[in-house]
């Protein structure tokens, strides 16, 4: 029998998943598959769009089905083609690009679009949105928003639901003053009651987002672009960017045009077929099943499965019965779980409630006839898996209500997984249960990575990854077969760092090329070269053979490359202190070279940004400063506060100490950046608690040493390693810690991950109590490293390689 044609309209999360389910059931033998998608790429994870808005990911980073996936599975994809018409009589679909495709079975998965509520002035005459107004649905939307936000000061998000709040958070990340305007009296009114909405509002306002509830927007002000919003109550809010997250509308016009029954969306039966045409299936947000529409991926994926079983005839009785929605969400770092109703609706409903507004914790359960009919958990959602299970299965609840809300005497993880019912859903996005994960392990998957690839658990919003990993290791009795290469220092050389260091010493390998030659497998991975260079510098110090091609461009030209290929120059400024003369000189150099941007850095020094590579040596000579090492995986800088010199609170000479630190450690390479600070008292103005190494004066000459702190994308208070009796001792212990880190951390492993991997107890034992008897070695190694550093800006007069600073070389002879 020749193959049938399966045509899919809509290449989004439901459409692509449905095709995967078809392929998993041998669909490639049954069908020639043709897909149309209006967006010009393969399917991506829409749930992660906020990461594009925040700049954490680009489009590639959230792609789930790259173009190669379609090719490998023999699927013809018409990306960038919108299907305009279905000719049901001829069984043909026609795209706006003129492509015609005949079908035997058709699947519609056109999803939804952002709903733009009627507001005066929201659109221009030609019907397009007024410049500055955006929906929030696609990669293209996000790219435009990011672009526009760069030029905007005040951003308003209309809609205080999940999407709106996420978007408002991103607006602050993009540097805008961020407001949320919400029609209802409290935030997320679909998932939360008044009390929880109020607590969430407080938490969010603490993140510098202004929340306006009970506000109806009636007009978008401005003639050719957004200038503000006007509300029903007559008030106005000036702004230059408006993001609309006020709900979604299904793309069901295609059904209407083709004569299918459409109410709020295209109406389907339990097999996900259109009521009017059994050869047309509808899956996803554009489908209406038993009167309900779904806007979360979990139910859509269930629909996709039913469709696949039915269309491939692997189960002709496959039927979708609707989903009970229980969701676990993370809104701007606040963990939330919500299921069923938010307020009691029956006099006999029993409400169990707990509130701790100060910590943002709120728990409320609504029980009817001994069964859970609604629940809200906020802040602490430890009990969510159990409760969501009970809700979905309508299971009777234990009499002791307190235990529904709290883990009383937390049992060990082992017992928990033991007790976990097989049908407990672990990954909500992809609907993977404990049994599903167990089956994958039984079938031979022996690492969490393999289980995730097979079952897709953890591949949606990612919130459950940790739990999946723990469960897998429990299932394997703790014998998870790890991919051993994750421990290698660089991928192509099968050794961990300490082992590799011993081998390098034993064989006397002093250059990166010699390490590849003697220990590698013939393959030279470019990303491994800087990692090896860093290790060799730590091992060999002054004897290291510096092959410049092994180093990242920043370390070849001693400046920091910028997005447009220009460089930035940061002169050293110990403790953030300089003389008036020095300050004037920096200003003069900035003028002379027409520096596009002069910026004070977070590390208390001056950054000259946007310089041509060719100018670098001249600038260094004119500056007459030492290099600030702001470009490398190395000691960066040590911030300080005013300390005893002028501050009326000062307990220790934080400024002097910072300067002595900088003069000692400048130019010391390390596995990742080392950012330090000293504070003159525990008021901590220089933020020493959140540095890789921070020193805080506590009186009587004593200094507390904090290590492993961070306040970048990741925030962690440093661990108190030791309280030193004076500056000399503080310097010594700090130094030892840095050397221990240099010798043992993985490439690019910051101290905050290093500390969590090694543990404070062990680090303290080694560097304070000398439990391994290596302190003298650590101290000597650091002294030798310090002695071996040379100011790289001296290459201004003695370049190290040919055309080191030449941005463009003219061809010798143009023919």
């Amino acid at each position: 029998m020749s193959k049938q044609k399966l045509v899919v309209v809509g290449n989004g999360m439901a459409g692509a998943r449905a095709v995967e389910e078809v392929l998993a059931r041998g669909g490639a033998e049954m069908f020639d598959i043709v897909m149309f998608g209006e967006e010009p790429y393969g399917n991506y994870n829409r749930i992660l769009l906020s990461e594009i808005l925040n700049g954490i990911q680009d489009a590639d980073g959230i792609t789930m089905n790259p173009l190669s996936w379609y090719a490998e599975n023999g699927i013809t994809l018409h990306a960038g083609h919108r299907v305009e018409k279905i000719d049901r009589a001829a069984k043909i679909v026609i795209s706006n690009g003129g492509v015609r495709a005949r079908y035997d079975k058709l699947m519609i998965a056109t999803g939804s679009r952002a709903f733009i509520p009627p507001m005066q002035g929201v659109r221009m005459e030609d019907g397009s949105l007024k410049p500055g107004v955006f929906g929030y649905r696609t990669i293209a939307d996000c790219q435009q928003i990011v672009d526009y936000a760069r030029r905007s000061k005040i951003a308003v998000t209309i809609g205080g639901g999940l999407l709106g709040l996420e978007a408002a958070r991103s607006m602050t990340v993009l540097g805008c003053e961020s407001h949320v305007v919400h029609l209802a009296g409290h935030l997320m009114e679909m998932q939360l009651d008044v009390a929880a909405g109020g607590i969430l509002k407080k938490t969010i306002e603490g993140m510098d987002i202004r929340v306006h509830t009970s506000k109806l927007t009636t007009e978008v002000l401005g003639t050719d672009k957004v200038e503000g919003l006007r509300f029903k109550d007559g008030t106005e809010l000036p702004c230059d960017l408006v993001l609309v997250a006020a709900g979604i509308r299904p793309n069901s016009e295609i059904g209407q045009l083709s004569g299918l029954t459409v109410e709020r969306a295209i109406v389907v039966n339990d097999h996900m077929q259109s009521l009017d045409d059994r050869d047309i299936y509808v899956v996803g947000e554009c489908a209406q099943h038993r009167g309900r529409l779904y806007g979360l991926v979990a139910p859509l994926y269930e629909q996709a499965k039913v469709f696949a079983e039915h269309v491939t005839r692997t189960n002709v009785n496959a039927a979708y019965h609707g989903s009970k929605l229980a969701t676990k969400l993370k809104v701007m770092g606040v963990e939330l779980a919500s299921m069923g109703i938010t307020d009691p609706t029956d006099d006999n409903d029993e409400v169990v409630q707990f509130t701790e507004p100060k910590r943002g914790t709120y728990k409320k359960l609504i029980v009817r006839d001994g069964r859970l009919v609604g629940g809200i958990l906020m802040g602490d959602i430890g009990k969510a898996p159990f409760l969501m299970q009970a809700f979905a299965q309508d299971a009777p609840l234990p009499e002791e209500r307190l235990s529904l809300m709290f883990d009383l005497g937390t049992p060990s993880a082992k017992v928990t997984y033991d007790e976990m019912p097989a049908e407990t859903q672990v990954c909500n996005c992809n609907g993977v249960t404990k049994a599903g994960i167990a089956a994958s392990v039984v079938a031979g998957a022996s690492s969490s990575k393999a289980v995730m690839a097979q079952t897709r658990a953890g591949m949606g919003c990612g919130a459950c990854k940790g739990e999946v990993t723990e469960l897998v290791s429990w299932l394997l009795g703790g014998e998870v077969e790890e991919d051993p290469s994750v421990h290698y220092y660089v991928p192509t050389i099968p050794m961990r760092k300490p082992e590799l260091m011993r081998e390098v010493v034993a064989r006397g390998l002093k250059s990166v090329s010699s390490v590849f030659r003697e220990l590698g497998n013939g393959e030279v991975d470019p990303s491994a070269k800087p990692a090896l260079a860093s290790l060799l510098i730590t091992v060999w110090k002054g004897e290291y053979e510096d092959e410049r091609d092994a180093r990242f461009i920043n370390d070849r030209v001693h400046a920091n490359i910028q997005k447009d290929g220009t460089f930035s120059v940061i002169p050293e400024m110990p403790g953030g202190v300089c003389t008036p003369d020095e300050l004037v000189r920096i200003g003069q150099v900035a003028q002379k070279y027409n520096v596009p941007l002069v910026k004070l850095t977070g590390g208390q020094r001056v950054d000259l940004v946007g310089l041509k590579k060719d100018d670098l040596p001249k600038i260094w000579s004119d500056l007459g400063f030492k290099a600030g090492y702001a470009w490398g995986k190395s000691y960066r800088t040590c911030k300080s506060c005013i300390g005893t010199d002028f501050c009326r609170f000062g307990l220790g000479d934080s400024m002097g100490f910072a300067q002595r630190i900088e003069r000692r450690y400048r130019g010391i390479d390390s596995p990742a950046k080392l950012k330090l600070a000293t504070a003159g008292c525990p008021r901590n103005c220089s933020e020493a608690y959140v540095k890789d190494v921070g020193f805080v004066a506590v009186g009587d000459g004593k200094w507390e040493i904090y290590v492993g702190g961070a306040a970048g994308a990741h925030i962690r208070k440093g661990d108190l390693l030791f309280t030193a009796k004076d500056e000399t001792e503080a310097m010594l212990i700090g130094s030892r810690f840095m050397q221990f880190y240099r010798e043992n951390a993985k490439w690019k492993e910051r101290t905050y991950t290093f500390m969590e991997r090694i543990g404070l107890e062990r680090v303290r034992a080694v560097v304070v109590e000398d439990s391994e008897g290596i302190c003298a070695d650590l101290d000597a190694a650091m002294e030798a490293s310090i002695a071996a550093t040379v100011d790289p800006w001296l290459e201004a007069v003695a370049p190290k390689t040919a055309n080191q600073f030449t941005s463009v070389i003219p061809a010798k002879e143009d023919v």
Binding site: L67, G565, T801, T806
Partner: protein, 114 residues
């Protein structure tokens, strides 16, 4: 139109071993690489991702890694190796008597098959 005869870029030792440099031929900028194995390759000067300066990238064998966001390419074909939909235009080169000659007509950027 660019002349289709070969152009003399200059001595090979203008490019340190294992690194790249950008050359200008008439109005055109071209990234030229001198691999550790001694071979010379030429590609478009700027990364198709976000215009990173490719000559500032890192080389391993014939693999080039862009300095801005770590996309990798095979210098021999121009094909993207980390992101197959990205590709580079390459230019034929040869070395004789220590001098690099380049044919300034690119073989087109490799793109993913539609």
């Amino acid at each position: 139109m660019m002349a289709s005869t070969e152009v003399l870029l200059g001595f090979i030792d203008q490019i340190p071993v294992g690194e790249g440099r950008t050359f200008r031929v008439a109005d055109l900028e071209i990234a030229v690489f001198h691999t550790a194995e001694g071979a010379v390759y030429a590609t478009q000067a700027f990364c198709p991702h976000r215009q990173g300066p490719l000559a500032d990238g890192l080389l391993g064998g014939t693999t080039l890694m862009c300095p801005l966001h770590d996309r990798t390419f095979d210098l021999r074909s121009g094909c993207g190796t980390s992101h197959e939909q990205l590709g580079l235009a390459t230019y034929p080169t040869r070395v004789s008597d220590g001098e690099i000659w380049l044919h300034p007509v690119p073989s087109p950027a490799r793109e993913a098959a539609e």
